[in-house]
Every structure is written in C-alpha cells, then in structure tokens.
Symmetry: C2
C-alpha cells in the first residue's frame, strides 16, 4: 500500500514495528520514522493498517500515540479490520484534537494490495469522504462510502461473516455430494449454475483439484488465513452481541474456525475448512 502511494507521487513517511519493512520502503524513497507520533508530525494525511483493536488503540491513544502529536485538520484513515465501536472511540478522540478519523477496512488480500486494486469500505463524515477517496484511489480501485464512522467496519464484518458461512456450507456440501458418489467437478458446476451458487463455490472452491489457481489446489497456501477469518468472526460475534442480533450460523462458524485454529490450521487459507470436514467422518 505504501509502495503504491510512493509510485503515485505522494511524499510518504512510515513507521513499522518490523524495522526491515520500514527500511525497505526507505530504499524506495519513503522517510522511516522512529514512532507513529513522528509520522503524524510530518503529515496532513495518515493511513494505518494494524492487526486488531488493541493495536489501533495503542497507536492512536497510547504513549507516543498519534493523537498526542496530531495537528488540527489532519485526515486519518484506519484500514485495520477492528471492532466498529473502537473506530467510533478513535473518531471521538481525534475530533477532540480537531482531526478527522475515518475507518476504511479493505478486501482483496495481499495480491490486491500489491496491485493497487483493493476495495475500501469507508466510514466517516460525508464532507471529508472526497479527500479520503482521493487518497485511497492511490491504493485501491473500489472506494465505497458506507455511512458514518464505524460503518466501514460494519460492512467488512458482515461480508466476512457471510463469506465464512458460505465457505463452511460449500465444504459440507461438496463433501456430502462426494460421499453420495457425485463427481466433484460436475457437482461444482451444477451448484455454480443453480440457487446454491456463491463465491465460495464458483470462484474459490475449497476442494483440491476442482479449480485451478485457488489455495485449495495449492495445499491451502496463500489466500486469506484461517486465523484472520477466526478473528473477523469474533468481531462479528461481538457486534452481534452488542446489538442483540441473533446469528445462529455466524456463531457456529466462529466455533468451527476456532476448532481449526486449535488444530493448528490457523496459517492455512480459510478454505481449509474442507480439509477439516472431509477428514472427520
């Protein structure tokens, strides 16, 4: 993402807890900074991408955090996937410093980040969305305004809950059909052209050998990690609990992905749920 900003002509200052990541970007023309606070002192627009809610809280409101040094009018875009409630808290804290905080989680994975074709789901004030879009277009191709702050997270969490449910359903269905004697490629084709069609069936089939160029046909390497999906399902459950929303299958999906992580499948692509389903008769 930072490389794409550099390539599009932005002056970029960076911080990363992994020094090699920052120094690699420095060799491409970025300025490596010793703290997040040092980055924001040099910028009027800031983008962050962090693993989870605590990291976001720490980077913005912790010691040497961004909001201790931010100048009025700074536009902050956080592309982490975190609890929408934390995004709202960060926006209030930024507002107290006359800065604007927007949430903009991404979909598309490492390949889309590299190619500058990410989808950004953006939550924040309408008035600042234009500026955010201009910035994000250097890194993505589909920039969707979802509503007020936190709504980008909400959209991302909803999509990934639906995706996990579809993927487990696809794994169960392909396995059941296989044991009933159906040819796997034929079954995938029938489902892909029927009412059972979904992305997990027609674009990312979890059964090895049914499709080319998907993680299932490459020992579940690459793609979107099972541990990350498990985290997103945890966020969905937290949001569902906070809003009193029943999610019987979303809750079961979270449980199933926790089992996968506990069994050591966390680093594999999340379509490895087929491996779990098909190997546990």
């Amino acid at each position: 993402m930072a490389e794409n900003l550099l390539q599009k002509g932005h002056a970029v200052a960076v911080f990363d807890v992994v020094p090699e990541a920052a120094s690699r970007l420095a060799s491409l023309g970025a300025e490596a900074c010793p703290t997040p606070a040092a980055v924001v002192e040099r910028c009027d627009q800031l983008v962050s991408m962090l693993p989870n809610s605590q990291h976001v809280q720490s980077v913005y409101t912790g010691d040497q955090g961004v909001l201790g040094s931010v100048r009025p009018g700074t536009l902050i875009v956080d592309s982490s996937t975190i609890d929408p409630q934390v995004s709202k808290e960060m926006a209030l804290a930024a507002q107290a410093k006359s800065a604007v905080f927007m949430d903009a989680p991404v979909s598309g994975g490492v390949n889309a980040a590299r190619g500058g074709t990410l989808t950004f789901m953006v939550g924040g004030p309408e008035a600042q969305f234009g500026a955010a879009r201009q910035l994000l277009e250097a890194m993505g191709k589909n920039i969707v305004h979802c509503g007020e702050v936190g709504s980008g997270q909400a959209a991302k969490i909803c999509n990934n809950m639906m995706l996990a449910i579809s993927m487990i359903g696809a794994a169960e269905t392909m396995n059941l059909g296989t044991r009933l004697g159906l040819d796997q490629k034929l079954l995938a084709k029938i489902l892909a052209t029927s009412t059972g069609r979904c992305w997990a069936i027609d674009s990312y089939n979890p059964v090895p050998g049914v499709m080319e160029n998907v993680p299932s046909s490459n020992n579940y390497q690459g793609g979107f990690g099972t541990a990350l999906m498990c985290k997103d399902l945890g966020l969905a459950q937290a949001s569902a609990t906070a809003t009193g929303s029943p999610t019987p299958l979303g809750s079961a999906a979270h449980q199933i992905y926790r089992i996968l992580v506990n069994q050591g499948l966390g680093p594999l692509d999340f379509s490895a749920v087929y491996k779990y389903i098909s190997e546990n008769q």
Copy 2:
C-alpha cells in the same frame, strides 16, 4: 408439466389424487385414469412427481402400484425430491420387471414448471439418458446427467442444503448490518459485489423492500415454501448420516427451519427466515 407435454404433441394419460387436477388436464386433451397402474398400462414412458419417499414407494410398489402393471422396456422418470436410497430401491424393483427407473428431481419452482424451463438433475444409466432427455426437454431447458440412479437426488439435496445455509446466512448478515446502522440496499449491493456474494443475497434477498419481484417484498408469498425446504434439509441430514458426512451448518439449518415450521411459517417462502431472525432479538 403435463400441460407442456400435451402442448409439445405427446399423448398423455394422467392420474392425480386430486380429481380436479386430472379433469382439468382431461379438458386439455389428456386421458384421466383411475389408478397409477392404469396410466402405465397405456404408456411406454412415465413421469411421476410426488411429495416424498413414502408416496413414491406406494405409487410404484404398493397395491395397484405402477410396477405391478409395467411392461418391459418402459422408461420411468421420477421427478420427486426424495431419499436417493429410495430411488435406488425403485430402480432395482423396476429392473426386476425389465423397466428402467431414473430419478430426475427439478429446480426452478412453479413458474419454471409452467414455463417449461425447469432444470432436471438426472440419475440413471448412460444408455437411457438420451431418451430421458428427449422426454424432459418438453418440460425443461436444462437437463443434466449426474451419474447413476440416485445421483439426481444427491445433486438436488446438495444444492438445497447449500441454498438453505446461504439463505440463513443472508438473513443473519442483513439483520446484523441493519442493526449496525448500515443502509439495507447499500449493504446488499456491497455484499453482491464482494466475496459474500450468493444467490440469496443478489437474486432473492430476504429483506422486504431491498429487491422487487421476490417473495420477501410480497409478504413472503409464492416462491419455495419453508415446509418444503425443511423436508429437503431432512433428506440431506438422512444422507449425511448414512454416509458419515459431517454437516454442522446443514444440521443447524435443518433445526432452524424446523423451528420456523413449528412457529407456523411453513407456508411462507423460505426467505421468511429473515422475519424469524429480525423479529427475535
């Protein structure tokens, strides 16, 4: 289906337990018969469409059943959605009379039946598939050979299990997003263009008012009944149990649709699971 056979020039003999159904077809040129056995005495090709496994067993192997009067060489196509194991039993019983029994459950619902655009998923011997296809083309547009007898049922059951899981997931996801403050049409659009995309989101959205011309926007009238989906999920669970296939979400889907039926929602379209999810906070 019988009307389409008549319109395509077939001579048709019919039996139905509802006399009005048979007499209506008689007024269009069919010959109404007093028993299933009387039908098969007049035919060399027979199509049946029945609610569930017991009805198929009764019509074929019961008193005055079809197989008591069938002539050698008769082609039998059963379009009921039933247990694949029962289809296999019927095929063996037909074989003992030198007749051929194929299973060919349909998808597409009442509108596709009326318009002659059904999809038939056909299980039976390769050698007789050509004759079956020729017959079925009078009633459908997509005739798929799935393998040996029972494999049409297997494909249908797999599709409907995947569909039920997707539909419940769509209902949970649309409801969660709504409670998180997202606009429903915007959320449907985001999901439909992301990895959470599925038929239940992009072609049959369960939220009233999100799409036109779907049952959810018409008080869940028409479409595919919740009670029928519940029955198909029961068949999926029977097949999963018989083959030792784990189906954690398929099993939960069956349970959820049983609750809907118990709550009196059986006659509504199966997308009414959104009504259940959104009204039970």
